[in-house]
Symmetry: C2
């Protein structure tokens, strides 16, 4: 698609994150989406972000297949009866879009657009699982969208149609299910932290905030710069709840019929993209890990005299060809070098090569990294190696920034007034003693939410959770604390 | 997914193609789909076919991107107003599914599930195209599904939800559009013929059978073994019809506003898959090109005595690892070798390696190709090379078979009674003189259809069409023939 007049971002990320985010994803920014589609919460994904979203899908597909999952594709629609089959899960009903007509005819039975995959998939699983030799059954759906009638919508954070990825697994016992949940967490670590450099904490959600129909929900939260938590994945321990509802049973070694145990895992494709934009990006635009960048290298010609022009451009063209494996792009447009620098920094291209008459003469390039100020010279024969090394340096920069950003995002308190003050002023997590994450704690969570204009009990970290000390009391109700929970505002 | 009891196919492809097709895609065959989803025309795609469908998408994405197309993703829904904007295109209305409710609320404006992409995409194109520097604009959507309320449905041939791929291009003039149409045909040749070995003819459709809203439609038809044509792609010359309806205009070099010319290209993902199954497959099951096969090699152990067992299995395990780049699979299940041979032939795995005590002792394998009867021995150090070569041999076999199959599928006649007889008895195309492929010919086409229980005028081949000879008369109305058309029954 063509380059448009680029006004640039007019606010600083640190001053007004929300407006910065809106600008960077729009036409004046990196032109990732078009929100002028005409139906609220339904957006158009433009090429630059499609390349990046595909990368996220690629990484996840590779990992879940290495873990034994097979691809499958179910219809976009669900029968109403199936949606209602698992009683708690039927809580999705208010958010569901209904197809009631075809042409001018009214359908005999209305069908729903899938809000998620469980009730869509499990009737088939009931047919496919017969004996213990069918287990574990591990399938996934990728590159699909789901539909929920959200009230407030925002690109990459909350949509009425949004990008989806889901695994659905069936095991012979609870042990197998729990082991899978740990594997799902490892996949998140491998893809979202190690490759995409997005930091997060895996929480065990409070019982009142589980996925509808699950026994337990494990979800990972990262934080936007405004301190609001962004849930980027969830893994659910479904126990035998759906197996009971959908009759997913197998004959064990003794020939006896057993209910199967299930898990499902959903990394949020949009949410992960939002985190990459929000956490790595700066006031100049996007910053993305090297491997994810749609173009890893941009080549900008710099000449003052007309007679230098053709030599420089010829050199650039050769360079573009030479660096094809990096999707190098020679920007031969009529804009000024300064305009081009700004434009490709906005798009988050990791490496810029500047080529002037001097570079041509000396058979070298001037190399600039998106994450550093200083430039360097690189000789042509070593350029590919140098670019790969610079890519790693950029990834290290992104990882360091993200890591220190996230480390400074947690405070602790045992005092309710201080908690309220921190939530108001500080942008991040607050660790605090809490009565219980069992159902009995919901009342305190509700009060906390009301007293803080929306702070939310994220739960207890899955790994090495802090334990309350002798005498610790719930920050809200002052009863003895059974957990140390994290609290943060939600997006 | 686990291996199920496999009853095998009970009919011959040559005796009853329709039943053979149903069996091969179902659980007793290669288990590609599950049709027990509960809503007519909506099916579940199982892993084996998902791997193959992804390959088709991969090939197409690679080619259209090399041709300058960029990925994009639009919503699944269309506003009614947009669907009605282009008057001829509004003919899609009777086939459209409508979303009228969200939760228990009625939507203010119903929204349609996309039946195709034009009216979904072009309002955005109108915003994106401003000046001549924005052209050509070349975008595509991949790995999506579309929805049409078809009366009769069949997996891979006609569905209410089916897999889709579409490019949408905008040009400054008609010359650019026509050039693109030729490129689209080249892409079909590269992907569908050269890679997937599906033979087809590109037709210029009669004017009465154009895509709704197009000036001209170029579509490629292949033939199922029952002689019914299977349209596997179409490219439309939209002229300025949609540009007028959606106001897609650009300022030319002189600053004057001009209507843009458009094309769109849709290879039918499902239909291509159907053709691969239908044309390459045999009475033993699927046959697929080497690169497309989800597993290229299966390793089957053969031992009679218990004490040979572990040595053979150890050898097989090593072999599976050694051949990982071919997705080799060691079938260590409890079934008999014969059962395993049948099963993997059904799945279309191109190469089978048989390993017995003798092979272990001599450090070699017995290699069988899916397309040939004779087996051969191959020594381990050369095995990878040998497998690659065997892959090419298999592709050559498939290509030769498909080519001779398709060559024998066309007859000619100038006599109406003979035409009717051929259509009834012969399974293929009939070439015949026809009055005209302009609108005036529609009446003859309708009569032909009625007189033959459904034969359809495919149009004239795009490449080297036969010209009527002096005195040739329309086979139906006996007026002077302006075209030699192809006629065939439709699926």
């Amino acid at each position: 698609m063509s380059e448009k007049e680029n006004k640039g971002i007019t606010v600083k990320k640190s001053d007004n994150f929300s407006e910065w985010f809106t600008q960077i994803i729009g036409e004046q920014g990196a032109n990732l989406v078009d929100i002028r589609f005409g139906v609220q919460g339904f957006i158009v994904h433009r090429p630059w972000v499609m390349h990046m979203l595909r990368r996220i899908y690629d990484y996840l597909e590779e990992e879940v297949e290495a873990d034994g999952h097979e691809p499958m594709l179910f219809p976009t629609v669900i029968l109403e009866d199936n949606l209602l089959e698992e009683k708690e899960h039927a809580g999705f009903m208010p958010d569901v879009f209904w197809i009631t007509k075809a042409g001018s005819e009214t359908l005999e039975k209305p069908i729903a657009l899938r809000p998620t995959g469980e009730t869509l998939i499990y009737p088939s699983y009931a047919l496919w699982v017969r004996s213990i030799s069918d287990l574990p059954l591990k399938g996934y759906q990728s590159r699909i969208t789901v539909f929920r009638n959200e009230k407030a919508t925002r690109p990459f954070l909350r949509g009425r149609e949004f990008m989806f990825f889901e695994t659905h697994d069936v095991f012979r016992n609870h042990k197998g299910a729990l082991k899978q949940i740990k594997t799902d967490m490892k996949i998140m670590d491998k893809v979202v932290w190690r490759k995409l450099k997005v930091p997060f904490i895996f929480f065990r959600r409070p019982q009142w905030d589980k996925f509808m129909g699950a026994d337990d929900t494990y979800a990972s939260d990262t934080l936007n710069p405004d301190g609001r938590r962004n849930q980027i994945s969830s893994t659910h321990d479904l126990g035998t709840n759906f197996a009971k509802a959908f009759n997913i049973k197998f004959r064990d070694e003794k020939g006896e019929e057993q209910l199967a145990y299930q898990t499902c895992f959903g990394p949020g494709i949009w949410r992960i993209m939002a985190a990459i934009i929000a956490i790595h990006g700066d006031d100049k635009g996007l910053i993305v890990p090297f491997d994810m960048a749609p173009k890893k290298v941009v080549i900008v010609p710099i000449y003052k005299k007309e007679e230098e022009n053709e030599k420089v451009r010829e050199f650039c063209r050769k360079l573009e060809k030479h660096l094809k494996s990096f999707n190098a792009h020679f920007d031969d447009s009529d804009h000024s070098p300064g305009y081009k620098f700004n434009h490709w920094e906005m798009m988050g291209v990791p490496i810029r090569l500047e080529i002037g008459p001097r570079e041509v003469q000396e058979d070298q390039v001037t190399l600039a990294r998106r994450t550093r100020k200083e430039k360097e010279k690189a000789k042509l024969p070593f350029l590919k190696k140098r670019i790969k090394a610079a890519g790693k340096e950029i990834d290290t920069d992104i990882e360091k920034n993200a890591s220190s950003y996230f480390k400074n995002k947690t405070k602790s308190t045992k005092n309710y007034d201080e908690l309220k003050r921190i939530i108001k002023e500080f942008r991040g997590f607050v660790k605090t003693p809490f009565c219980t994450t069992k159902m009995a704690g919901e009342e305190c969570a509700d009060k906390l939410k009301a007293d803080t204009q929306g702070a939310y009990v994220c739960g207890t970290p899955f790994k090495n959770p802090d334990r309350p000390k002798e005498g610790d009391k719930c920050v809200v109700c002052q009863k003895p604390a059974k957990s140390i929970v994290y609290v943060a505002k939600s997006i």
